[in-house]
């Protein structure tokens, strides 16, 4: 423990004032990672996911859509690591290739709800008044719906496509961001640095965007990470019940749904591997969220 501290402070010693900020941040991250191996594991798991998403199409040993009537429902073997499905497609290739689509859906949904939620929350938190009241009432109403059920309703109303899965997932996540950012902005609205920025002639908008908002980001990033896992679960759940992604597109939720029909006759590999991939992804983002909380939590800093 003490040797860790020693190395960290040696790394953090500024040689040039300009690079002090980035170096100490890096040193802090290294310090936290060393202190908390679980976070390190989460980062490694995340890079596995990212590699699968970016290069899955090249790594995959088979064409994920190619059917092969000569090898139907084969159990896992050295040729087909995760076995083959009912039309002879290689499950390993399909699980690998699906990573990109699943991550895409959740990242796009979370970014959308982050942008919309942050804007609404920042406005309500900074100006308050009737905007705040209207927004809070609106968010309460959204939260009054069981969220997965609301997502189903939105997809039903907008139409059954992948884009609408993204919109539905985004809408049900907006309240979490809006509430969090509203609270964080509200807390800092009258703090010293904000008042100083205002006194030196900045407009309200500039104070909000350039001075207050960046300070709310650390807790929001934790929320983003936890939310990504939840968004993946949500999107996979929607495609499990037949919404959004259409077969034969490889996607984890739909693959579990297809595999579920064969589980009662013992062909477990069709459902289990995509399900494990899904769990791996969700678990990664949850671990990462906990780890990020340690990094941004000021009480952890020395």
């Amino acid at each position: 423990m003490s040797s860790d501290l020693g190395t960290a402070s040696v790394v953090a010693t500024p040689t040039q004032p300009a690079s002090y900020q980035s170096q100490s941040t890096l040193a802090h991250i290294i310090y936290v990672l060393r202190d908390n191996p679980v976070t390190l594991i989460a980062f490694i798991m995340l890079s596995v996911l990212v590699v699968c998403a970016l290069f899955g199409h090249w790594i995959a040993p088979y064409d994920p859509l190619a059917t092969d009537s000569s090898s139907i429902l084969q159990p896992p073997s050295s040729q087909h690591w995760f076995g083959t499905d009912n039309v002879g497609r290689d499950v390993f290739s399909r699980v690998l290739v699906a990573t990109r689509l699943d991550l895409q859906i959740s990242i796009m949904a979370v970014s959308l709800s982050f942008v919309i939620g942050a804007t609404l929350g920042a406005i309500a938190g900074y100006w308050g008044g009737w905007i705040d009241i209207v927004l809070s009432r609106f968010l309460d109403t959204i939260m009054a719906f069981p969220l997965f059920v609301l997502a189903m309703g939105i997809v039903a109303a907008l139409g059954n496509t992948v884009e609408n899965i993204i919109y539905a997932t985004a809408i049900i996540n907006i309240p979490f961001y809006a509430r969090l950012i509203r609270a964080e902005v509200n807390l800092r609205r009258d703090s010293g640095f904000a008042v100083a920025a205002k006194l030196s002639g900045n407009s309200d908008l500039r104070v909000l965007v350039q001075h207050i908002f960046p300070n709310t980001l650390p807790p929001v990033m934790v929320q983003v990470s936890l939310n990504l896992g939840w968004a993946i679960l949500n999107a996979a759940g929607l495609s499990f019940i037949g919404l959004g992604v259409r077969p034969p597109t490889p996607e984890w939720g739909i693959m579990v749904a297809e595999g579920a029909n064969f589980i009662v006759s013992g062909e477990w590999w069709m459902a289990v591997f995509p399900g494990l991939a899904l769990m791996f992804a969700v678990f990664t983002f949850n671990l990462l969220g906990d780890g990020l909380r340690d990094i941004v939590d000021p009480r952890k800093r020395k």
């Binding site: 996979a236 769990m279 949850n286």
Partner: protein, 331 residues
């Protein structure tokens, strides 16, 4: 109550908007493929779609007040009839699952809080972390594989009752209660067997938040001044835990229960799908796939109202658990 009414109004407005946000022209859809311009216009007038939005909204609210949620295209029945017929199946599953998860998660959370750092605490942490990462539909599939295919302990995952049993006479719609009322123990056991796997699936999903909240609420209750005082006063450990710590820790746990109920209404849809459970969740999924919009919207609205009602119940429960919380008009 003051909180509930605006939320109900909001819920009705949002579900009205969802009904009207349909892509394309509902009149064309309802008139069928062979319709010409005149008959489409006729359907539009019949559906009231030629009126202005506020007028349509008033008509919608009027229909709701009369309990009219529209007709389901696939079953040909009024949506409300379908929903009330299938609701007991879903409620039976949800309530049994919630009961099960409370029975396990609350003692686990209490034990973890009173014995920090022991294996109970670690078990609690593992459960909480794993629980939030588990997709319900996947847990269900894995449980079916182990307990139906491999060991054969559970019956086939095909609905509420195996076909060898006769459905009990419908009194409440809950098979467990109805079969007991009819004095038919065999059917009761049959229904219970069917219920075990789906409710464990749902319980695994809901245990995590309950255990986590119980643990942290108990820890903060146990470290408070009043606990130190009663400890100094020499009360027994059981009395301290049960009467002083647990009762105070119960409030946040009940709040979490409300949230968990909302989650499980959503997760219910997935679990019903996996186990071919004939509840409102699988009804809504079938309706969604068949583009039966009235049924889906009716389902969404019914779920939201049910959840609002549960939250109201929880608010009332607060004042039972904690007499300090009263209602302004009661005092």
């Amino acid at each position: 109550m003051a909180q509930t009414i605006p939320v109900v109004i909001g819920v009705v407005v949002i579900s009205f908007l969802l009904t009207r946000a349909l892509p394309g022209d509902p009149a064309v859809y309802f008139a069928g493929d062979a319709a010409d311009a005149a008959s489409i216009q006729q359907v539009r007038e019949a559906l009231g779609l030629d009126k202005s939005m506020p007028q349509q909204f008033l008509i919608y609210v009027g229909d709701l007040l009369r309990g009219d949620l529209g007709q389901s295209l696939s079953s040909g029945q009024p949506v409300l009839t379908d929903l009330t017929y299938r609701l007991p199946a879903s409620l039976e599953l949800t309530l049994v699952a919630l009961g099960l998860s409370c029975l396990i998660a609350i003692p686990l959370g209490v034990l973890a809080a009173t014995r920090p750092g022991t294996w109970v605490d670690h078990l609690c942490r593992v459960l909480v972390t794993a629980g939030v990462s588990l997709p319900t539909f996947f847990t269900g599939v894995v449980l079916i594989y182990f307990f139906y295919y491999l060991t054969g302990w559970a019956p086939a995952p095909l609905g509420r009752l195996d076909f060898i049993y006769i459905e009990p006479d419908r009194v409440t719609g809950f098979y467990l209660i109805d079969s007991l009322l009819a004095g038919d123990i065999e059917t009761f056991l049959g229904a219970l067997k069917q219920l075990i796997l789906p409710s464990i699936t749902l319980a695994l999903f809901t245990m995590a938040p309950i255990a986590r909240m119980t643990r942290s609420a108990m820890i903060s209750a146990l470290s408070s001044d009043y606990i130190r005082t009663v400890r100094a006063a020499g009360l027994s450990r059981t009395t301290i835990l049960r009467t002083y710590a647990f009762r105070n820790a119960l409030l946040p746990v009940i709040t979490t229960l409300g949230m968990v109920f909302s989650f499980s209404l959503g997760a219910n849809v997935l679990v019903e799908r996996v186990f071919a459970w004939p509840g409102i969740g699988s009804y809504a999924v079938d309706a969604l796939v068949a583009s039966d919009y009235a049924a889906v919207q009716g389902f969404v609205l019914a779920m939201a109202l049910l959840f609002v009602f549960v939250n109201l119940l929880i608010d009332l429960l607060y004042s039972v658990v904690d007499p300090r919380i009263g209602f302004a008009d009661n005092e």
